[in-house]
């Protein structure tokens, strides 16, 4: 028997494929049985209702996309009333993504969503910390640690910290999240980018800039996932540009125990299911019997810490 399960702290997933926050919703149930994938991850919610950023919220760049959705949110009440019951019909664990502008608001939202039906909480700490200088929490180890400590006190559920690729201190931030009690890291959110329409000379996104996701982003997020897996003991969930089976395998080999698939679902809505099937076939073809045999199996030899943790290209 092939063992596709993967362990993320106390949570065991039937397979390592799950959606990335903001690229998944109840609507995908119209395409396939949502119990075929390892977990469900909601779009980030905030406590209050929010309408999100101005349109256009998406634009295409060569072989990838930028988005500036922001975090439109129905608010926590609507979420508890409508979304959690919807996912209750599935066996796959529900991961709720949350965000807030201050550590205290973050903690109180975290408490509010720590309800039955929720298996873990993913904290989107790539949003600006309005109490400090407006920098996103996950830009710095200190702010990451501070917010994660408050969140840790606010819930007994597993806490996944979702990192940002915009920091120059990836491994320091990863270690800070671990030190403050995160149960897993999601690596990572989108990378700040921009596109300008040369005909109108206007930014292609209504919000001026947005986040790069999709294939172009993969080598960057993969590097981060690898660096994080090398620097912390908690599990790392890879995320960024994963578009096909090979990408999934690459992240697992790099050290991710599971992956999140985002933009690729927009191109091929069934891709996650195909990946689950593909992993099975791949393990078989390689004479392996479990996903965990792949995780972290990168042949990086006696590589020096200087290389593993380098922060600029050589």
């Amino acid at each position: 028997m092939l063992d596709l399960t993967t362990q993320i702290g106390t949570l065991k997933l039937k397979n390592p494929i799950m959606p990335a926050s903001g690229t998944f919703s109840e609507d995908l149930a119209r395409v396939f049985d949502l119990d075929l994938i390892g977990a469900h991850v909601t779009k980030t919610i905030t406590r209050e209702k929010r309408s999100g950023n101005p349109t256009p919220r998406v634009c295409e760049v060569r072989g990838s996309m930028l988005n500036s959705i922001g975090i439109p949110s129905k608010g926590v009440e609507a979420f508890l009333a409508n979304v959690i019951p919807f996912y209750a019909q599935y066996d796959a664990p529900l991961i709720v993504s949350i965000s807030a502008g201050s550590a205290d608001e973050f903690a109180s939202l975290c408490e509010e969503v720590s309800v039955p039906g929720v298996a873990a909480i993913e904290v989107n700490i790539s949003c600006p910390n309005i109490e400090e200088d407006g920098k996103a929490f996950a830009m710095r180890p200190s702010t990451t640690e501070a917010v994660m400590r408050k969140l840790r006190n606010a819930t007994d559920l597993p806490l996944w910290a979702k990192l940002t690729p915009n920091t120059g201190e990836t491994t320091e931030v990863a270690k800070a999240a671990e030190a403050a009690g995160a149960d897993a890291l999601v690596v990572s959110n989108t990378l700040l980018a921009m596109a300008i329409d040369i005909h109108t000379r206007r930014p292609k996104l209504g919000n001026l800039m947005g986040g790069l996701s999709g294939p172009a982003f993969k080598p960057i997020a993969l590097r981060m996932a690898y660096q994080c897996a090398k620097s912390v003991d908690i599990p790392v969930i890879g995320c960024g540009g994963i578009s096909n089976l090979e990408d999934v395998i690459e992240y697992l080999i790099a050290g991710a125990v599971a992956v999140q698939v985002g933009t690729a679902t927009f191109i091929d809505p069934k891709i996650m299911v195909n990946m689950v099937d593909g992993i099975e076939a791949y393990l078989k073809s390689q004479g392996l019997h479990s996903v965990s045999q792949l995780v972290g199996s990168v042949e990086d030899g006696e590589v020096s810490d200087g290389l593993v943790f380098m922060e600029a290209a050589p």
């Binding site: 903001g22 690229t23 998944f24 919703s25 109840e26 609507d27 995908l28 149930a29 119209r30 395409v31 779009k43 209702k49 929010r50 309408s51 999100g52 349109t55 256009p56 919220r57 998406v58 634009c59 295409e60 760049v61 060569r62 072989g63 990838s64 996309m65 988005n67 959705i69 439109p72 949110s73 129905k74 608010g75 609507a78 409508n82 979304v83 999709g214 933009t263 679902t265 927009f266 191109i267 091929d268 809505p269 069934k270």
Partner: protein, 280 residues
């Protein structure tokens, strides 16, 4: 002005499966200077469509044309009997340019049908459709549906020039009363359109109005609709990523119950109430 986020997916409507299918291209010919008609050999399961719905198309990648995201395209025609799905499109950028390179026998991946189509309520007998340019692609299936339901349809079709006025024969063959207006004849002004519509209302009467796209026409029909209490619907466009509700890319703002609400064009639309719509 308060702003409010949208509500969860319509619970009233039944939730139909969405199909992702490889179709075979039957033809892909130029219909005039600007537009092309794509005819696909399509399986029955994706031909259970409503006028106003759309598909999300995976444009081919070849050479310098490397579109990444899918492209939304209204259903121009769906024919379960002959197993055909038609799109009428204008080449405007990378994706549509890539579509234009497709040849008979090529495979083309489509996702759909998607979105909420036009309504034709039982008591709507005299229908009026006002379209400009490629908007006709979106409104054409209404003509077929009107005939199926035995309604009277008048179509005011406006375009830059006669040579890009499309679908007129198509409409006439379906018994539609066609009124063609062009910029080159100087007949397409808003004032002239208003005169024509007012005359129609005075003559046979109009029970519902349908349009899409143009801000000028939206404004005009909102005026006319308000003064004569005629309901209407509009098909809107917005940049899309997922095409069926997940990404929140495609929102537009609407007036509703005194506030402004955001709705997803791909899911709550692309067809919306005429009076609630806000131009852009």
């Amino acid at each position: 002005m308060r702003t409010m986020a949208l509500e969860t997916p319509d619970t009233g409507d039944e939730v139909k499966p969405i199909h992702e299918v490889d179709c075979v291209v039957k033809s892909n010919d130029r219909v005039n200077d600007e537009y092309r008609l794509l005819v696909l050999d399509a399986p029955l399961k994706i031909l259970d469509c409503e006028p106003g719905q759309f598909f999300h198309l995976l444009c081919p990648i070849s050479g310098n044309l490397q579109p990444y995201l899918r492209r939304p395209m209204s259903i121009y025609g769906y024919y379960p009997d002959k197993g055909e799905l038609h799109f009428l499109y204008k080449v405007t950028g990378e994706g549509t340019a890539a579509m234009a390179t497709m040849k008979m026998g090529d495979t083309f991946n489509v996702l759909g049908p998607l979105g909420k189509g036009f309504d034709i309520l039982p008591n709507w007998k005299n229908l009026l459709l006002v379209a400009r340019g490629v908007g006709l692609a979106t409104l054409a299936p209404l003509a077929l549906e009107a005939r199926r339901l035995n309604r009277n349809l008048t179509a005011i079709c406006s375009a830059r020039s006669k040579s890009v006025l499309m679908s007129l024969d198509y409409f006439r063959d379906l018994g539609v009363n066609v009124i063609a207006l062009t910029d080159e004849d100087a007949t397409s002004s808003v004032e002239n359109m208003r005169r024509i519509i007012e005359a129609l209302i005075a003559d046979e009467g109009v029970d519902a109005m349908y349009t899409c796209g143009s801000n000028r026409i939206l404004k005009l029909l909102q005026d006319v609709g308000k003064s004569h209490k005629i309901p209407g619907q509009i098909a809107l466009e917005q940049q899309m990523a997922c095409g069926f509700g997940m990404c929140q890319c495609c929102v537009r703002a609407f007036h509703r119950e005194g506030i402004i609400v955001n709705e997803r064009v791909c899911t709550e639309g692309p067809v919306f109430d005429l009076q609630e719509a806000i131009g852009c």
